[in-house]
Amino acid sequence: MKKILLACSSGMSTSLLVTKMLEYAKSVGDEVEIWAVGQDEAKKEMEKADVVLIGPQMRFLQEELQTEAQKYDIKVDVIDMAAYGMADGKKAYDQALRLMGNR
């Protein structure tokens, strides 16, 4: 089970991408859990995640979240702008997998 957490200001615009990523993961037969939260919950929720992706408009959060994520030994990255804009589920999902490595 791969667990991917998306975060933005209130978790609204990233939730768009969640649907697309879930669709894609399902189509390749991966078992996943993907969910979106606002910036304040992100620190709490990352405990349950294998990787954290941030909406590009909140990319100034990266440093802070990465510091927190070190505790759980997971990576935090900013979603590629083009993938985010086009709600490209495949691209964002692949980005998440790359960050997760062999987990």
Partner: protein
Amino acid sequence: METKVFDKLSKFLLPIASKLNNNRYLKALRDAFLLALPLTIFGSIAVVLTNLPFLEKMMSTDHLDTFRSAFGIASQATMGIMSVFVVFGIGYYLSKHYKVEAIFGGAIALTSFFLLTPFFLTPEGGDPIQNVIPIDRLGAKGMFLGMMVGFLSTEMYRSIVQKNITIKMPAGVPPTVARSFSALIPVIITLSVFLGVNIVVTQVFQTNMHDVIYNVVQAPLVGLGSGIVPTLIAIFLIQILWFFGLHGQIIINSVMDPIWNTLSIENLNTYTETGEVPHIISKQFIEVYTVGMGGTGMTLAVIAAIILFMKSKQMKQVAKLGLGPGIFNVNEPIIFGLPVVMNPLILVPWIIAPMIVTLVTYLAMSMGLVPPPTSVAIPWTVPVIVNGILATNSIAGGLMQLVNFLIVLIIWFPFLKLIDRMNLEKEQQKDKENQKVS
């Protein structure tokens, strides 16, 4: 060339955005307003219901008055005393940030605020009535004092706790009991300071902190913020930040919200009492008339322009993707998909359109063509037209948005057409190449 300049600017803005977003005081303030938001929405529903335009035709004046006063408590108990929630919220969230007992932080902030509040009311030309708190001190008028006291009292409280001047309990004492004792010293010291301040201000200077902060800080700042020029500057900065792909509102609003929210409460309190709205600019003006038409930059008009008049596949696809969320004022697909971000061709309409719309709306409202927002709180995801009518309690508020829609569409049109033509050329070239291959 251009991208290099943009990259540099972006690198320059990023740390500023990060600092503002992560500043502990601004963060506590943002969370405190968020705490008050659902409560004000509840109060707003009551205001909207009791002010529906057709009620006057359906009910006699007596019945309407009874109906209004019966429901009036719903807004008084929420927006009417909003400073209470903000003060408590600041104390709570700031304490939480420092990892000290947050609920005590909230209670101490609130008590410190009350310690500076006059518990009497002097009616005009009458003797002071003792043992009452004037409600406006807990609402709009006390907002800035409340915020200051919230921050100061929490800072005092947490620094005493962190210095560990607490009463240690022997092992075996239940943890809650131990906690209540260990909170005692920081509480007593902090509250004593505010009591002392109040004694000096009331006894020596014959005034109170509410009046001092209101006259010296709040009235000038809020007066400044209610003007059109500072509003346009704020809009400009929000658009610039988004142009670099940074969440403009998170950054700018954390500074402007105290002012905009204070204006809102003043509006709403006056509106429920007299039916008049004193300020055009308020939190709702910003939310409904600069964002509430498809999101930042009012991009629902851009989506319409693309769907109706543009031909390139890439743009059509973005517009199709952006339409659903756009109706509910979420527009990241347009911002990152079109894209708006770092796109020199879009910089001009992106910044000009919202500023012109803001100016036109402001003028229409100051000339009395459209009533200003009554400041009932409306969730920012309520779609265009509906939010305009709800915000102003008038059809004119929705019609204003139609005018704004056309303004945005006209300003964007030539720029979109240019991008469309470039995209079409690219797409045709690709098609030709594909044909050659096959």
